[in-house]
Amino acid sequence: MGWLELFLDNYTGIYNRSSEAACRVGLDLLLCECIGALVSWLHSSLVILLKHKRLQQGKVSAISPTQPTRDGQRTPTPWDSVQVHCELSFTHPINHIPTFEDIVVGGRVDHGVGIIIKSRRKKAPNRLFHSLLLCAEAKFDGRLSDALSQLIVYLASLRQSRVNRGRSDTSVYGIATDGLCYIFVTITHQGVIKKSKQFDLMHGALSTVLGCLKYILETAMSMTSTSMAEKGVSKASDELQDDADDLFDLSDTPYTQPNDEEF
C-alpha cells in the first residue's frame, strides 16, 4: 500500500469529515503562528530598545530583562496574557428593541481570542474574559454564509454589551472561516457591518490572511484601556476588570460539565 493510500485510509477512517474539528486545524495553526509571532516580536523589540537605551546610558547588561533569568522569570508583555479559548460559553439578553425584548441569545463561540482577567469583584466569576477577536467556523460541508450570520450575532452581542457599559470604542472584530477560506468582519462603533472579500489559502492568500489577522489583533489590543507593558500584568489586570466582557462564561465548558450520558 502506497503512502497516499495509507494516509487516505487512516484519514477517512479516523476523521468525521462533517465535524468542525477538521476545519479547526487550519485556523488553529494560523492563530498560533500569528500570536506566537506577536509575542516574540514584542520581546525582541523590547530587547533591542532596552539594549539601545543602556548603551546610551553607558550601562551594559549581561541578561536582557525580557529574556528569562535562571529562575525562569522575565518582564511580562501584554501578549503573554492573550489566550485562545475554544467553545466559549456565551449568553446575552437583547433588551433595546421592543420586538426582541426578553430574548436571550446563547451559544458557544468556536474560538475566542482574548485576555483573561482575574476578578476581585464580589458576586463575579474568578476569571473574566476581555475579547480581542471572535471566530465562527463553517463545517466542512457547510456554507461560510451560515458561519457569517452566527458570527454577526456574537459580534453584535459583544458590541451591544460594550455600548451598555458606556465604552468609548465599541468596535468588534471577527473571522468566519472553514479553515481554508477566511472572511474578516468588523462592526464599527456606529453599528455598521463591514466585511472583507473571501480570502482562500489555496489561492496564495496565506500571507495576506496572516497580515490581516495580525492587524486585527493589534488594533483590538490597542483598544484596551491600559498598557500592561508599562504597568505589569497584575496591576493592569485590576484596572482592566471594567473592560471585561460579562457575556462570556469561562467556567461553563462542556469539558468541566460533561453530559452524564456520554460516559
Binding site: L4, L29, S196
Partner: protein, 140 residues
C-alpha cells in the same frame, strides 16, 4: 449530542439538594413540620425556575439569519451593490497598517503540507469512496 441547558442543570441541582435534605430529615427524625417546609421550599424554587424560563426565551446564535441579526441588534447593513461597496465592503488587505506577514520557517514547512493535503484528501476521498461503491455494486 446536545449539551444540557443551564435551566436543566438548575433543575437537577434543586432536585439533588432537596433529595438529600429529605433523606437527612427522614433519618434524623426531624419535627413534622420540617418535611412540610422543605416541600414548600422546593415547590417555590421550581416554580420560580419555570417562571424564569417562560419570561425569557433563549435563542441560539446559529438560528438567526443575517437579516434577523441586523434587525435584532439595530445594525446597519445592506446587500444593495451600491451601498455595499461604499459602506460595507472592508478592504482590510489595502489598509496601510496591514502588511504581508512572513510566516516562520517552521510554519512555512508545515502549512503547505497540511493545507494541500486537506484539500486533496477531501476530493480524493470522495473519488475513492465512489470507486468503492461502484466496485461493490456487481457483488450485490
Amino acid at each position: 449530542m446536545a449539551k444540557r441547558s443551564r435551566a436543566d442543570l438548575s433543575l437537577e441541582a434543586i432536585n439533588l439538594v432537596f433529595d438529600r435534605l429529605f433523606a437527612v430529615a427522614d433519618t434524623s427524625n426531624a419535627a413534622d413540620d420540617t418535611l412540610g417546609i422543605l416541600k414548600r421550599l422546593k415547590d417555590q424554587m421550581l416554580s420560580e425556575l419555570a417562571e424564569e424560563e417562560v419570561a425569557t426565551h433563549t435563542e441560539q446564535a446559529k438560528e438567526f439569519t443575517l437579516n434577523e441579526a441586523v434587525e435584532a441588534f439595530g445594525l446597519t447593513y445592506s446587500t444593495k451593490m451600491s451601498d455595499y461597496k461604499e459602506k460595507h465592503h472592508w478592504k482590510i488587505e489595502a489598509l496601510p497598517d496591514v502588511k504581508p506577514f512572513q510566516p516562520s520557517e517552521c510554519f512555512r514547512k508545515v502549512s503547505p503540507w497540511i493545507f494541500m493535503n486537506r484539500a486533496m484528501t477531501g476530493g480524493l476521498a470522495r473519488v475513492i469512496s465512489g470507486q468503492l461503491h461502484w466496485n461493490l455494486q456487481p457483488i450485490k
